[in-house]
Symmetry: none
DNA sequence: CATGAATGAGTATTCATTCAT
DNA sequence: AATGAATGAATACTCATTCAT
């Protein structure tokens, strides 16, 4: 793998996250990656294909960087879900409420179509959902029997994305914490009467 | 009086929603509104101020266009919440999964800063939250006593935004329905044991 | 005379001097004069005609504001000339070397043509020259007989304009003082041997 | 190699001189240089940096184009100074009194600040002054001992700039000739009594 | 006299991309 | 693989000016 290519993807990933896709010019990526335009177009025929590479990169790093550490930190599957919320909470606070979920941001900005980009965005969201889904299945016995792991994981993602959006827009962690607290109550109700339908 | 100004705001509102803020050029707004550039800048000193006007417009229309009709359709406060989810569900389906929440999209695209735009985005989210919060209070007796209306409303918004995002990205209503179904189960648990803590 | 008209001329005069003619937009003049565009165009059919009014205004004020006070300050005609150099020297220093002769600046910026503007610029330069010329005539007996008052006045203006330009560009009074010192030596030579050809 | 860059500087130099800096649009430069906008901005990040390049170009050509030929034409140092006045006189006449000193015009239009442009303008004026200063030193023995070459050169520049301004504004060579005639008389007085203080 | 909406050509500059070397 | 000159359409925005009220 070319080191130049990696530098380009790395710079693009950071800039797309910080500024958005449309707001990030190729010139800025070139400057930040210390690369000349010809090189970029040698590896990527267009800005959109570069975005696809960025999305591939996110997907490749999801398990080693995010999911792995969480699974190492605790073996309790329900605890793992809340670790995920903590992980994002920290990111929101650390960036002074400017943090947005990289995938979520791009999904809303460029996910309206149905091309390769949207498919790769969905692949990322799916990978997240599947990780959570696995934890839910592991927690199976402690939850009501009728809980559908896949649906539950979809809710987790919805809450996460919606809560980050509210934190970022309100410049306050209050709505994030409120959303997670309500979600936690839900999990409480599901587990307190374990065994029930 | 200022019919021209209204046409500009209307066109900008639609285009910002359909294509995003950065991806919408002033030239496109001018063409769609059938207005010349000087006129636009007579009313709005910059594209950003025009965005502010669009956000003001969303806020002004929230009650008459969205909240009002829902409240007329049913007097049951819990039903009203699910009507909201239905409302968005229809929009997602009707646009072939290209629909995104106008405020949510803009919040993720341009809500990272802390200027007037971000404040007006938050004012819109706050208005939505307060409308839901009012319904939750009305439903008070039917829910567990300890339910915090404000927190609960924050969760509703989170689920809504996250669910729309997943529907749009996956080009399928499945994750949307899954999120809402899980949320509905939560409401069920909160109401089935009404009077409890 | 309309007070509004006066405010417009006053603002335009200041702005043209500070920023130049082309660099000063009508919008800036309107803001500074607190006037609306319709009013400005009621008095002046174009920006160029406004410039003509500014030049008329300079001409009207030359004697009462500049020449008069100098003539009151000293009755020695040669002294008067050097008072003029002092007057400009103070202006250059007081503005931190950003001062340029109002007429000179405009002459170089818009004096290339041969319309009314150029003629009014020349009328201003002529009035200055004539004032100096009068002083030279008054000093007649103290100078060599062959001194041509009109030519001498032309030199005074040349030195003044060139010296201000050098001060402004070099951000230093050195070349201004050097030019005046040399000119003073010339006057010295012309007077030391008075009566000679 | 960079023939395109040279064409841009050449066109800009001519247009800035003919029309002034503010009055010259980038579009005009592009048309005259037969270059597309992207190319111009490949070499010059802004119109102001292009102006800097023009000023560098003037400085580079001063000796080979102006000073050199004059020094070749005559070895008499005082004669050289008057050749300079002749050189400008011809330019004024040849252009029908529309000629302005390129450096002087720009100095008055954009020399009010203290950035790179003003510094480069001053570098040009300094180079002119130094060339004249050298001639004055060479003429040393023929002038009064106390003549300061640097001050004298400053006067030469002042007279030149002021005289060109008057010629251009009055559409007549009279004031130019008058200024030079007076200056010539000064030189006459300085040399007639050579050896004196 | 004054207002301010409206015009549309014009501004400097940035865009993603191509291509010869 | 890499360079950097070159492209030309597009960008947000400003300009001097007009005109109905």
């Amino acid at each position: 793998m070319s080191e130049t290519r990696a530098r380009i993807v790395e710079a693009a990933q950071r800039l797309f996250h910080e500024q958005g896709y449309a707001a990030t010019g190729i010139a800025t990526i070139l400057r930040e990656a210390d690369v000349r335009s010809g090189s970029l177009y040698h590896f990527f025929p267009s800005k959109e294909v570069l975005l696809e590479a960025v999305l591939d990169n996110y997907l490749e790093h999801l398990r080693p960087i995010v999911i792995g550490p969480i699974e190492e930190a605790t073996s309790d599957p329900i605890e793992r879900i809340f670790r995920l919320f903590d992980f994002y909470r920290e990111a929101v606070l650390a960036t002074g409420f400017s943090y947005g979920c990289p995938i979520g941001n791009l999904a809303l900005e460029v996910g309206g179509g149905d091309g390769a980009v949207t498919r790769k965005l969905d692949a990322n969201l799916a990978a997240w959902r599947e990780a959570v889904e696995g934890w839910v299945r592991d927690a199976g016995p402690r939850m009501r029997k009728s809980v559908n792991a896949s649906d539950f994981a979809a809710l987790v993602l919805s809450v996460m994305e919606g809560a980050v959006m509210q934190a970022r827009t309100s410049k306050s962690i209050a709505r994030y914490d409120a959303s997670v607290a309500e979600f936690r109550r839900y999990v409480g109700l599901l587990t307190e009467a374990r065994g029930k339908a």
